[in-house]
Symmetry: C2
Subunit: 473 residues, 2 copies
């Protein structure tokens, strides 16, 4: 890390100490001089680190005494297990609410506590601008011409190389470049289903998936997503036995919104069940790259020997959302998927594919991801601490090991949809839990996220959110 | 026109004289000196014009005598009316053949006599590269961020301004930017139909439409597209009376492949019928901008007072195919269309939308279109003349007033699909007529086009195609 960023490292160190309860609320932080000696950094660096921590509200300065962990700071417990979902195919019914929420979440007038994915300020916009300019100028005719239906071949090569790190050995010819991961999902759903069919999902699940299913005339069978351990094989087995499921749609890595990570042993069993029942799986892995631990979690695709997994990912959460570049590994459903791609929009835009291919080829991605993961983890930790400062007793919040969202269980009886409207009236964007299921299971939940650098507006926003929750509790 | 391009004007003048039979095959062209005097251009300019015409094979130089219209030159008659299509809903059945054809048409190894749309060499690649670089560098964060679901607002403003020229008064908020016109079509089809529904199309129609209908599980009722006058209201009325038609999909301007232009009086009647029956119309206008006459033909959307027309267009045929920027005016179906856009791929890529917005805002489009139309018309005329030189008796070819393709009726008994394979074996890409209908109506047709500048390879290719036709006749 460059010298001028050293203070961030110091800040993370202190946050980790608070986080692990090595430093308790009300306790004094090490003196500037002591920490400077211990960490072998300048006093100026420690000072800057403490000032930044003070801005986030985690520590406070007491005149002529030093810095202290804020007295009010406390960790919220994790969410309770909710009652199991009703095991019944249900046609979508949330579209109107989702549209309202989407409009609010996307609004730039609102404080973005409902938006996931990294904010543009954390992404390599300038470098991409340079690469885009170089690609367009270097080959202007190629940059305005069509790519192959499956996408720019050099980009597909780079994706294939990158996927090796996720344990996926795919040839470039097995990859279809899509207009974002959403299109990968959409193509996968169209390739596997017809209106009236039933798809298995985990509950809660990303609301855009529910919208997609509803738009395609599909019914959803929901199995529980356990807040820490994600999908349990027994739940899957039972649902497959009972219903004519045409496809499963799961996010084993940091499921949006609960951040759950389906554990390794469960994955082996899940894959065995799917193979036995010959049911295809659509695997959403858009948060797999944003893990906080040292190692990337695995994928079900890596375990797929029979081409049953349709793997979906994108660069929208990590490099450039507006480039709309995602990819699909459709396994044995490749011909059908390619036909759907060609009849939807022929092929994705050329210049963005070429700029991304150059970005990957030049080896920027790994380095950027390392930084991004640290930042995202720090933001999430900070948000958790602030929730602890301001939310009433009875609130619970997840402690995900990756991804981009916190799943907050408000005190019993607090209505998440009303909470959403009251937050919006105060200029704050949040997402009510109701939109993450076709059933009324998450009425007192909201999803909170922090996609940009922490700042005083966000701190004030969380304070307001805590006040609203206390008023409604 | 700049001085150094003056020879092109001279060439067009001479071609027009040949085309209008003012100069007949075997006749001598005006002498260099005479034409130089008449047109007030230098002798060098006339010389260059004649040399270029000689390259195209339209005229020939005879030693010590001058330039002559080639003796063998003859105009082919226009296609006969084919028997009417069977008036019956038919589920798609051409996908396999279409896939094969698409693979061949897209192959860069083949002489591109099957590809429509302008080749990159005729498009403003360099200027767009410059604008793209400026947009990305000027606002790197915006360029990698998401646009609104309906697209970049400045681009939609520019499109709204441009549409005024087509008689369409639309507000930017009524426009959805799509990933190419194909996606506009796809969204329109999804917004109006469910699998098993029936859609009315003209016959012949663009094969990708048939592929889309098949992929969406729809059936097609075909009404005749008359080679010159396109769709006749009586055919439409009759079909709407007999079948439960959920949507019509028509290309009134230079229908691909027959180049037909539905006439103005028919349009008024068509619109009245649709309003009376309350049947929505998907209007494909991607070739409307490529008219050879002085005035752009109108649109049905301009006559649409009740929001029944879903208008589809793009910049793929005129500016930058690989940018994948099209647009949809979904009329009263806007909410449903926006929902489908959001569940398909959320929104289209940002940088290409911004570069195009800048291109339009700076006023380049009209100037570029003027040049492009002249070039496309000249290429088409040249192709027609060469067909006349080399194709056997019994061949017929359209004389479209716009668009990008010639629809060639081969002598009776020549099988277009076999012709396609034999041309491919000789390294030439053409499109067999069979893929333009769900019925066996165009077995002895092929579509030919010339999307780049005429050259000797193309001239030799047409000679080969003529030989193959003669062998098969």
């Amino acid at each position: 890390m460059e010298e001028r960023h050293r203070y961030k490292e110091v800040g993370r160190h202190i946050t980790a100490l608070i986080d692990s309860a090595a430093l308790l609320p009300g306790e004094r932080l090490p003196s500037l001089r002591a920490l400077s000696r211990q960490l072998r950094v300048s006093i100026a660096t420690v000072t800057q680190a403490y000032l930044e921590l003070e801005k986030t509200g985690i520590v406070e300065a007491r005149p002529r005494s030093g810095y202290y962990v804020r007295q009010a700071l406390r960790r919220l417990p994790r969410p309770e297990s909710v009652p199991r979902p009703q095991l019944e195919p249900i046609a979508g019914n949330r579209s109107r609410l989702i549209q309202t929420v989407l409009g609010a979440v996307g609004s730039s007038d609102l404080l973005p506590l409902g938006v996931t994915g990294a904010a543009p300020e954390l992404l390599p916009g300038k470098l991409l601008a340079k690469l885009m300019a170089a690609e367009c100028r270097g080959a202007p005719e190629a940059a305005i011409g069509y790519e192959q239906i499956a996408g720019h071949i050099e980009l597909r090569r780079q994706i294939a190389l990158y996927l090796l790190g996720s344990g996926i050995a795919a040839r470039p010819e097995e990859i279809i470049v899509t207009t974002g991961a959403m299109e990968a999902l959409y193509i996968a759903i169209r390739a596997l289903t017809r209106p009236g069919d039933t798809v298995l999902i985990q509950s809660p699940t990303y609301y855009c998936f529910l919208q997609l299913l509803e738009s395609c005339g599909l019914r959803a069978v929901e199995i529980p997503s356990h807040p820490r351990t994600g999908v349990h094989p027994d739940d899957l087995r039972q649902a497959l036995k009972r219903f004519d499921i045409r496809a499963c749609l799961l996010a084993p890595n940091f499921n949006n919104p609960d951040g759950s990570l389906t554990c390794e042993e469960a994955r082996a069993e899940i894959m065995a069940i799917l193979e036995e029942e010959e049911v295809p799986l659509i695997e959403d892995d858009v948060y797999g790259d944003v893990h906080f631990g040292p190692r990337r979690p695995g994928t079900l695709k890596a375990r797929d020997r029979r081409g049953l997994v349709l793997y979906c990912n994108s660069f929208s959460k990590t490099i450039a959302p507006g480039f709309r570049v995602g990819y699909l590994l459709p396994g044995r459903f490749f011909p059908k998927a390619l036909e759907i791609k060609s009849t939807t929009n022929v092929t994705s835009a050329t210049p963005t594919q070429r700029a991304l291919a150059a970005y990957l080829r030049q080896g920027h991605f790994e380095r950027h991801l390392r930084r991004l993961r640290q930042t995202m983890e720090a933001q999430m930790r900070t948000l958790q601490l602030h929730l602890g400062c301001h939310f009433p007793a009875g609130t619970r919040v997840t402690q995900p090991e990756g991804g981009g969202a916190l799943w907050v269980e408000l005190p019993p009886g607090v209505d998440g949809v009303e909470y959403f409207y009251r937050a919006r009236a105060e200029g704050i964007g949040v997402v009510p839990g109701s939109v993450f299921s076709t059933q009324d299971r998450f009425g007192n939940y909201v999803r909170l996220s922090c996609n940009g650098l922490w700042n005083e507006d966000l701190a004030r926003g969380v304070e307001t959110l805590g006040r609203i929750a206390a008023e409604m509790a």
